[in-house]
Symmetry: C2
Subunit: 108 residues, 2 copies
Amino acid sequence: MAINKSLEFSKELVELAEFAKALSHPARIAILQTLAEKQMCICGEIVEVLPLAQATVSQHLKELKNAGLIKGEVEGKKSCYCIDWEAFERFTSKMNTMFKDLSNQQCC
Amino acid sequence: MAINKSLEFSKELVELAEFAKALSHPARIAILQTLAEKQMCICGEIVEVLPLAQATVSQHLKELKNAGLIKGEVEGKKSCYCIDWEAFERFTSKMNTMFKDLSNQQCC
DNA sequence: TTTATTCATCGTATATTTGCGATATAAATT
DNA sequence: AATTTATATCGCAAATATACGATGAATAAA
């Protein structure tokens, strides 16, 4: 009955899965791309770019923040977001390492 | 009201997000690792390794198959699964390219 | 001080995912 | 032919995710 079985997997695996989950919605990838392109990182700019309501964008930003992929700072009445490159690199290299560890022989 | 807005994003973005979604559950990453390690690729072996019921594993296998990351063949009363390395490479390189395209300057 | 702007959060509706028992199907074994 | 084995699928329950209007809180502008 939809009990959460995540805890029965290794921490490593759960973390990789969480990283992937953060990237599992086109809006969130689009947000990361926007944050990387622009210097400004203002929430309103992201809302303008995406086909989503402000509340929805705010929610996606929160998820990216919870996943540790972005950081946020309040700047007056605006909110400045940016990618946490350190965390980002950590995750992508883990993911790449895992992919490389998968040996490469076709079996069927 | 949870309308699906995926179609309002570029095909590229949607595909990347779907790839990430396939990897967004520890069980599915574990399945990929198992498929990569073992030659045999029999469903039953995967069930033995994972802390999940057979029906659940079968469902995760189906999702990986739908995502195009694995292939499956019936071998008598058994089912042989394996990673579709071509598709896998295609996705991982797209993902890596996207990450590289994100320029790397901290803004806040 | 009043008003407008920017954003986060709450509440809610709906959709999707996760998990599994039960069952169906098809092949192998007896 | 009957039984066992291996797997897929159905149907259900619970949990999560998606989306947004409404509202609140805090700052900036008038």
